[in-house]
Symmetry: C2
Subunit: 182 residues, 2 copies
């Protein structure tokens, strides 16, 4: 399970999508657990309070681990703003990798792809990460991508290299050996 943590607008989903495409091209089983989809299907009724965010993250981790147990590489582009819950997910997971999608708040706010920063600044949304809810940056992420200075291909390649190092041999799709059948 590869968790992409970072501010809204930092590029988590874009990066996860790029990694997904590469994995699919290389014949791996992969799945993106997108925050919005999971909220719609598993977390109806949960809001954005600290308690609800934690419950949301626990549910995603539960489903992610179910999939990962069956050899699926699970990509999770979900803010997960608190150190404690990320540590809990790591310790509850068989294989967990943390990608810190790091872009400064002012850059994320300029991008504002969903118009959420504008709404948060206007007071239309509360408990918004980086504005009136904290983002606790990872101390020791497995990979860090600075999306304001590195392109998405470069970032994706860093993640893919780390995944390749973590994969158990039987999950790696390799070309048939030339010696087969001899």
């Amino acid at each position: 399970m590869v968790w992409f943590t970072g501010l809204s607008g930092s590029g988590k989903s874009t990066l996860a999508q790029a990694v997904f495409s590469q994995l699919a091209n290389r014949g791996h089983r992969a799945e993106i657990l997108d925050g919005d989809i999971v909220r719609a299907h598993l977390c109806k009724g949960l809001g954005f309070s600290r308690e609800d965010r934690i419950e949301n993250i626990r549910r995603i981790a539960f489903v992610g681990n179910l999939l990962a147990r069956h050899g699926v590489i699970v990509l999770v582009p979900v803010i997960a703003p608190y150190r404690a819950i990320r540590a809990e997910v790591r310790s509850a997971s068989h294989a967990y990798m943390e990608v810190y999608v790091n872009a400064p708040l002012n850059i994320c706010e300029q991008r504002d792809p969903k118009g959420l920063y504008r709404r948060a600044r206007a007071g239309e949304i509360t408990n918004f990460t980086g504005i009136d809810d904290p983002y606790e940056a990872p101390d020791a992420p497995d990979v860090e991508c600075q999306t304001h200075v590195e392109g998405v291909e470069v970032c994706a390649e860093k993640v893919l290299q780390k995944i390749a190092l973590s994969l158990r041999p039987e999950v790696v799709v390799s070309a048939p050996s030339a010696a087969a059948g001899l």
Copy 2:
């Protein structure tokens, strides 16, 4: 996704476990989505009203389909008492099979493995299927097992045969062909 529907105490979990063991022995990827585990991890806060049961079933179906999409045979021993929600799950699923675990209410109540019928009769639990909440029996299940007259091995074999008929060829684990390499 194989859904085992039936009253509490009808033998859904026992049958799912027997099917799971056989599948695992034969080298298939399988997973049981047990109602209690799912309620603890995905449906905290949901009760047993009609609305909450339906939401619970939708979440299980969402996770089951995620797993099934990656070639996992998902066994779901969960009452799912209403025809309409079972029809919804069937139509939303790529591959769905319904096993009606059928034992008469009075037999289930005698078994009462979790003491729930006793508590429902005493009024300590409400919205209990078969007592004060309806169980709508399937009209056309893919498999029917009468657990009060058929043993668990016989029932499991019926389900396994139906699964084998439904599996796409690539999911079937077969012995290497003698012609390979010639």
